[in-house]
Symmetry: D2
């Protein structure tokens, strides 16, 4: 078999040094770089500008915590079963970050990146948005990044993220198109369909030049932080056992009732 | 079944607000709090002091990247198989963060927290360290947080973390005991047994008041960042397929050779 | 909040009994039912017929082992890092069972189930297949379940699975359509595009009445068995550390060479 | 770096054949070997005897289903978030199979294997058991495989597994020691402390010659089957969303009450 050399610029170690992205971790980074700047460096291979730093930090912070999500509950239940493997409890929670919830940042970014790729700078974004909405609604598809079951008429996270992106000169055509999509979707449906947080993340990240395939990664980083937080609370004030026993008890009672003809 | 009420202070949502640890995410946190301060808030329920902020950021940054670790390779191989589930690729990598590698921050923190719990402030840490080392070496056990297969005579990350902890007034008896353990272990064994990075994390986190059961969580947060970085590089410059095919090819060739009597 | 009762027929326990699908585990199942019949019972809620039993067993066995796959390597690397969490090592390997590899059983089953739903029993399957192939090839999409990078001109697993399904009276229109898809795809492309193992699994499972959303589950069950097998070999003859060190060494050498201008 | 050759006997493929453990999958195994015999072959490298086949099947079947466990709930919640990644939902559930629940098969097997290693065939197992119990109870440790919170005075699965092991000539000193441990623990504590299902699995697997490090793997295989079953029911009769919304609603109500001074 012909071999292709394995190459990576992520990092390497010698007995007295750890190199990360070509920088000396201990001399150049540790104590000098924040976690979110480190995340940017890891993903893009370069340090962020001050504006990128500020906006990217917000993109990572926004999804850290959203209360007792299915992911948080799954992490707590897993920690109950395997407290010796905190990492596996976080992993279990992350596994649920798919198309139903926060994973939609990816779909939103793909939508606007695909739509704008190769188009001229003065393309009519409202017309583009109307076409996308018509095509999607025509086949009864939803528009990723648009609409929220709870946060209406607006998702309160979106204006903050968009304002930060504007303030730091990052908001561009991807953000503009995402806003146009919301307007077009609302016009076509007559319903409240705001840009939601994952739509805002996808659009701002796109204007920062990030590949759509990585946008779900921003949500994953933020939520990993939040899931460790849930384990911290679970250690202090456990609730996983109570949730489990309630579900077990209720399903067992209902099943027993049906078997004995009570139901 | 008697039910216990489910209580959580992590967060909750109303149509127009998202509350995180009792704060309004959009008004009080987003754009104002860094990711690592958010992590501290999630874990402890309060904002960090400036010194805690600085030191905690370093604790999270230090394990983000260590080159092509088994975890990074596992994440890349998983991404190859399921590129539509970036979150599961990160989860797969995190699952390997157990007792062999970075998970040892937990063991190191437990060791020093157990040893110091309830002891007077002027306890003789060197004597305590000698006793621990004698007991552990006596049953051929290793000392978590001490020694590194590559980084000798010192792990270069440790002095930076300890210096930051000193500078910001955080280093206390847990850090002192960890250092004493290294000295005692070196004296007893005649080998180079420096405090390694996970030992430093465990000791500093202990002096910050964090429960030992959470120390692995700091490593998990940092490494989640790094694993997203590895996926970013894998998208630009794939290597997972090459690693897989080499392993498959070599094992298949060797097996075929043995079956035909060549081996 | 209005609550909907939680109901489940999976199982429940009393102090002296464990009920599974309404049967007494210890009296009726244990020692009397095979693992694959138990899998069928769990998925469908009833015992299999003798023919279903035979065919379903083969569907589960066929994907157990395929050598050093990316999943097997990921499981071994994870076990290296967390040998105390065998379950997490299997979980890590399973996470890679997505759209690239064995997860395609799901796509294949969806394709034939969607195509046949509501059609008359004498529908022209060859015409249907030609239409599907034309539509897919027209948008440069592949056909799930068709083609294999290594196993050419046929995937040797497919005729065995199809023969078993015929022998036991299970093969029906879904199998017939899958075969027609292969013929149509080969005619349209001029290439060898056999029904592969996941295509065969998807088609046979569809003729057994299984929802397409569960077909990936059959692959998951089989592969979980295989991944435990890989851990067994890894315990006896470790290779994960060698794979890791080779990758780390080669990437570090290449990176160092580039930094010093050798590359 | 000096390389060690990578060797594996698990399997390999050529264009027209798939070899598994040196056998031709399509000619020798598929349609002829059951899933549990395949599991035995994968783990041990040889086909089971008829007695081993029967007993091993029971060891895998016994933990498939135990109702709405924390693992089953975690799998369902994960599937709710990422229905496109069934494999990740099973993986999330498996991650919880640690020291609290079924993972204890490993600890039980280690206990009896460590105790019996190198002892003469006529060693006094009752005395051995009394010593182990005294040592463990002395440091307030539990005895893995002994006692069950619900199944009292006996775990109904244990006598069935032990009877099967006796009937097929497999029960030996490991089973005898496990029984002796239960008697000794009951005598020392005055409480009902039966051998539980994981204790029985660990003891029987030990008498079959399996390494204690693999015993958790038997539970993992069985439970992977059960978790796919839970997803099948979740597709037909969803309950994950209801569980999530109840938890979210109750915690949010309680938090809001506390903030407004109602609590």
């Amino acid at each position: 078999m012909k071999q292709t050399p394995l190459r990576s610029g992520m990092g390497r170690s010698t007995p007295d040094r750890i190199l990360v992205q070509g920088r000396d971790l201990c001399r150049d980074l540790l104590g000098k770089i924040s976690l979110s700047d480190m995340a940017w460096l890891e993903i893009t291979g370069r340090e962020p500008t001050p504006g990128e730093s500020k906006v990217f930090d917000a993109l990572l912070v926004v999804l850290v915590e959203h209360g007792m999500t299915p992911m948080a509950i799954a992490t707590r239940l897993t920690y109950l079963g395997a407290p010796e493997s905190l990492q596996a409890a976080v992993a279990a929670g992350l596994c649920g970050m798919g198309t139903t919830f926060a994973g939609t940042a990816e779909g939103a970014a793909k939508l606007v990146q695909d739509a704008l790729r190769g188009t001229p700078g003065d393309a009519d974004l409202d017309a583009m948005a109307r076409d996308i909405v018509a095509e999607r609604f025509g086949r009864k598809a939803t528009i990723p990044g648009i609409g929220h079951p709870l946060h209406k008429p607006i998702d309160p996270r979106t204006p903050v993220l968009f304002a930060l992106a504007e303030e730091h000169g990052i908001a561009g055509r991807h953000v503009a198109l995402m806003r146009a999509l919301s307007r077009a979707a609302e016009a076509a449906s007559g319903k409240s369909l705001p840009v939601n947080a994952t739509g805002a993340i996808g659009a701002v990240a796109s204007d920062m030049g990030l590949d759509w395939r990585l946008c779900r990664g921003l949500a994953v980083i933020g939520r990993a932080v939040g899931l460790v937080g849930h384990i911290a609370e679970e250690i202090r004030h456990p609730m996983a056992r109570e949730i489990w026993l309630r579900v077990e008890d209720e399903t067992a009672s209902n099943a027993a009732g049906e078997e004995s003809g009570d139901a």
